[in-house]
């Protein structure tokens, strides 16, 4: 009985370690991006854009719309790349203009001096900014612990690929 118990304890311990490691690695990086694109008028434009985005590592799904003027990109779990800057580079290389993007992204919260909040994803740091400081999502972020894993949804303005104006935050 004692032998079985020790074995069970070892198995449980091993499973727990694996679970903790898995949890620590899970969901860091872009989850979904809705990137607005100006200038695409025709089928080959959309085809070229789709092809260029699908070449990036870590892409699960791409849907390009000419009428809405956007590309919706879903990402494979737990990849630090590509970044939003990579997505926008592909848009520019295709000959079009990237505008505002809506993002859903996970990472580690870093609280800096003067209460500046950063979302760290790999080597990339996104500056988190409030849409409205009284909003519940921003209040939750203010109270979150330094180093906690968070998922935020928000808008990234054109020309500033490292700033997120937060709409929602999950801790």
């Amino acid at each position: 009985m004692k032998k079985i118990s020790n074995r069970m304890v070892r198995v449980l311990a091993a499973v727990s370690v694996l679970f903790i490691l898995g949890a620590w690695r899970a969901e860091a990086g872009l989850i979904k991006v809705d990137q607005t694109i100006w200038g695409m008028d025709c089928a080959p434009c959309a085809y070229g854009m789709e092809k260029g985005l699908k070449k990036l590592v870590g892409i699960k799904r791409v849907q390009v719309s000419l009428n809405k003027g956007n590309a919706v990109i879903e990402f494979v779990s737990d990849v630090k790349e590509p970044t939003l800057a990579d997505i926008r580079r592909v848009v520019r290389d295709s000959g079009f203009t990237p505008k505002e993007a809506k993002v859903k992204i996970s990472g580690t919260l870093k609280v800096q001096e003067h209460n500046v909040l950063l979302l760290q994803v790999g080597e990339m740091n996104y500056v988190l900014k409030p849409v409205d400081k009284t909003k519940a999502a921003w209040q939750r972020l203010q109270k979150a612990a330094n180093g906690s894993t968070i998922t935020v949804t928000g808008k990234v303005p054109a020309g500033h690929s490292d700033e997120i104006f937060v709409d929602e935050a999950l801790l």
Binding site: W38, C42, A43, P44, Y47, E50, L66, N67, G69, G95
Partner: protein, 280 residues
């Protein structure tokens, strides 16, 4: 009968090769778009008829996006002209493709680009190219290399298109012969019918109304101006472009509405062009 049989064989052969430009008009100047690193292939079958004769030829045009605003192209005849005109008009046939029998390389620099909103852009492109002939003589004149420069500005959107451009092709001497310079200009208006404004990857069709003006100067043969060369002409006509994913097909016709040709040159009756394009 032989001519039409060969025409349809070529049509079938090029159709089976289609996998994925036709982005703009068939004859006029435009501002083609290729992303950085992208390639395109345009395979063309074209016919030009005069009051005396008809020619039929095939031509290939390959494009490569060096950057999103700089493109290199190479146009060349795919085969010896199937039926050649004994007295060919001085023309580029279609402004972007190069003249009959020439191998032409060009750089297209889109130096102005502006996206005012979803699905639309203004842009202006400068074209600089050079050609070498694949034939010794053209219409009795020894053919030398040429330089071609053009500029075109335009608007592309999900509903309407428009381009306005002009260019100048200068042939160099070969011995005492020289083909006359060719100033040219084009205006193109396009419309995407509402039924074809559905989203990617649904089929995308549009109609163009094209006009092309050419003002060829006189040739020089053995040092003397040839009185039976040069003139001016304006041609207009429709073209229809269909795109699906990475490939496209375009058909266009131009008919002369005005021509004044020097000497005893036969008037042009029509130009017809069919293009198969794919992007890869």
């Amino acid at each position: 009968m032989r001519m039409w049989f060969i025409f349809f064989v070529l049509l079938i052969l090029t159709t089976t090769q289609v996998r994925a430009e036709g982005h703009g008009p068939a004859f006029g100047l435009a501002t083609p778009t290729l992303g950085k690193g992208q390639w395109s292939s345009d395979t063309t079958v074209m016919a030009l008829g005069t009051k005396k004769d008809t020619s039929l030829m095939t031509r290939e045009w390959v494009g490569h996006g060096i950057t999103e605003d700089l493109q290199a192209t190479l146009g060349f005849p795919l085969s010896a002209t199937i039926d050649k005109l004994s007295s060919p008009p001085r023309t580029r046939f279609a402004s972007m493709m190069g003249a009959f029998g020439d191998v032409e390389g060009s750089l297209l620099w889109r130096f102005h680009r502006q996206a005012p909103g979803v699905g639309s852009r203004f842009e202006t492109t400068m074209i600089l190219g050079g050609s070498v002939p694949t034939e010794d003589k053209r219409g009795g004149v020894r053919v030398g290399p040429s330089l071609n420069e053009a500029v075109v500005t335009g608007y592309a959107s999900r509903t309407v298109y428009g381009w306005l451009g002009g260019g100048f092709q200068h042939y160099f001497e070969r011995g005492d012969d020289r083909l006359g310079d060719l100033p040219y200009a084009s205006v193109v208006l396009g419309w995407r019918p509402p039924a074809f404004r559905q989203d990617y990857p649904k089929p995308d069709w549009r109609i163009f109304g094209e006009s092309l003006a050419e003002f060829p100067r006189k040739d020089r043969i053995n040092g003397a101006m040839d009185p039976n060369s040069g003139g001016e002409k304006i041609l207009v006509g429709p073209s229809l472009l269909g795109l699906y994913g990475q490939w496209g097909v375009e058909v266009g016709v131009l008919l002369p509405v005005y021509q004044r040709l020097n000497g005893i040159q036969p008037d042009e009756k029509y130009r017809i062009k069919i293009v198969f394009t794919w992007w890869f």
